[in-house]
């Protein structure tokens, strides 16, 4: 008989090697993509969160390295294109990425090297899940983790467009969508995510959302004492708050951190869809936003035909129209 893994409180712990019963499973699912009326769990797990304190981050990429090792991914060796960002973007094999921006503070004329760890924010109100047409391909657990169940993924790419942070990436190899799982397999055995454990300066920390908010507040206080008057927490309400959130030295200007959205929201189109309309609406949105992010979708042999597109466009126009009126 095995014991059940505890709920995790920190990432600073050594993983178990003796088998444990997992701390959460299918019974703890609160939302399932393309599935209405999900029966709600009988228990509520502690809400967890990963806090990324950008002001403590040295941009070492230990998080990327630990992520690759834990998830056994194999991102490609690319070229240097004149920056420190490698790989150059999130990929199906690289779930997190340090983004570097050189910003001259207009108030002090001092250079600041703003380095932000990008990756899935695990939104309380997940746009990817809402946009996803495949039943069970995206789930949310009561601890806040938004996870992809790859067996159910059809690789359509709607999650990419549904995401206000542009995070998921579609594999050209197996045509499924990939992103950070918040190391759900580690959390299930009472551990924190691999990136948070590795982070040398503990700019990335993990625990209950309440603990992380308290820690973030103390960090903001320290930053204010060092002259960062606008230091603050980035936990955007437009997506119901996130289970990965930031401390920023300039919280009044999120976009200086490599285009972190100032006020992220799920597209109202996605919000408005119900049932069958979702597919068509997303199809046209995907076309409108055609680019690298959706390359996987369009490379697939199955395409939305012209008929679908026309009808979908009508749908979107109708949506736009109704939104303007309201």
């Amino acid at each position: 008989m095995t014991e059940t893994a505890p709920q995790p409180k920190t990432a600073a712990a050594n993983p178990p090697v003796q088998a444990l019963d997992l701390g959460f499973d299918a019974r703890d699912v609160v939302r399932i993509s393309a599935t209405p009326d999900v029966p709600q769990p009988t228990r509520q797990l502690d809400k967890v969160a990963k806090l990324i304190d950008v002001s403590k981050c040295i941009g070492c990429k230990a998080c990327q390295s630990a992520c690759i090792e834990w998830n056994d991914t194999k991102p490609a060796v690319e070229d240097n294109v004149g920056t420190y960002e490698n790989p150059h973007d999130l990929t199906p094999e690289m779930f997190t990425l340090m983004r570097f921006s050189e910003w001259v503070n207009p108030e002090t004329d001092n250079l600041e090297w703003l380095i932000r760890k990008d990756g899935c924010m695990h939104c309380e109100d997940p746009g990817c899940l809402k946009a996803c047409p495949a039943p069970g391909a995206i789930v949310q657990y009561s601890n806040g983790i938004v996870d992809f169940i790859h067996e159910n993924c059809i690789g359509c790419g709607y999650c990419v467009t549904g995401c206000p942070f542009d995070i998921p990436r579609i594999s050209k190899v197996d045509h499924r969508s990939y992103k950070c799982t918040l190391c759900s397999d580690r959390v299930a055995v009472g551990q924190g995510p691999a990136c948070a454990k590795a982070c040398p300066t503990q700019a990335i920390v993990f625990g209950t959302k309440d603990d992380m908010i308290a820690h973030a507040n103390s960090r903001v206080e320290d930053l204010k004492s060092r002259g960062y008057d606008q230091a603050g927490i980035y936990d955007p309400p437009g997506v119901g708050g996130t289970h990965v959130f930031y401390v920023l030295h300039h919280a009044d200007k999120p976009s200086i951190y490599s285009n972190l959205p100032d006020n992220p929201r799920i597209s109202p189109i996605v919000e408005g869809w119900k049932g069958v309309t979702k597919t068509a609406g997303m199809a046209v949105m995907g076309i409108a936003a055609a680019g690298a992010a959706l390359a996987g979708f369009f490379m697939r042999p199955n395409r939305v035909d012209e008929h679908d597109e026309v009808e979908a466009e009508e749908l979107v126009e109708a949506e736009d129209h109704s939104r303007r009126e309201s």
């Binding site: 990432a11 050594n14 090697v17 997992l22 630990a66 454990k197 590795a198």
Partner: protein
């Protein structure tokens, strides 16, 4: 607002390969997920833990190696994962981007597995046995030392130094390797002796 998408269109959208999920993918009907929600199997269950320290910089972070098989009881062991030791006072479980990827250093495609020899002027290496390699080295050392050992200087003072063979030692080997290397190199009289501390 009710758009009647054809079944044909749906099939082409979702693709034949995912037919099992296709009904639900459209939001039609009461189709359920084919696969229940689950997390990835925890890959460290039933592995063997070994405490070690990172071989890179001088912070010497504590690491735990997770292996299939246990060298302590004479088994063949394969390293499958490595992470920081949360009990270690210095790194507290953290690792830098090098340390966090140590498993793939140990398993690098360019790890050496066999002694190899390159003949003068040759365009490649050929594999040789350890015995051949070690005998070749011993012979070379003995002959060079016998020929070039300086026993005394011009003033007749014993100096017993050998300058025509040199040895660079490695600053990532253990103290114990270092001490054995010291004994071997110094007993032969080699003075061209250095390690990475110089650079």
């Amino acid at each position: 607002m009710n758009i009647d998408l054809s079944r044909r269109g749906f099939l082409r959208l979702a693709g034949a390969g995912v037919a099992a999920t296709s009904l639900g993918a459209m939001g039609f009907g009461e189709a359920e997920a084919a696969e229940a929600a689950h997390v990835r199997a925890f890959k460290l269950f039933t592995t063997t833990e070994t405490r070690n320290t990172c071989p890179y910089c001088s912070v010497a972070c504590g690491v735990i190696m997770y292996s299939r098989g246990d060298v302590k009881v004479g088994e063949t062991a394969e390293l499958i994962h490595l992470e920081g030791d949360a009990d270690h006072p210095t790194n507290r479980g953290t690792l830098c981007p090098k340390g966090a990827a140590l498993k793939d250093f140990v398993k690098a495609p360019t790890r050496l597995t066999m002694p190899r020899h390159r003949a003068p002027g040759a365009s490649g290496f050929t594999e040789i046995t350890w015995d051949e390699a070690l005998d070749k080295i011993a012979r070379a050392l003995k002959d060079d030392r016998d020929q070039n050992m300086i026993l005394t200087n011009e003033d007749g003072v014993p100096v017993n130094r050998w300058t025509t063979t040199g040895f660079l030692a490695a600053s990532a080997t253990t103290n114990e390797t270092a001490w054995l290397t010291y004994k071997a190199v110094r007993s032969m009289g080699i003075v061209g002796f250095d390690n990475q501390a110089r650079v």
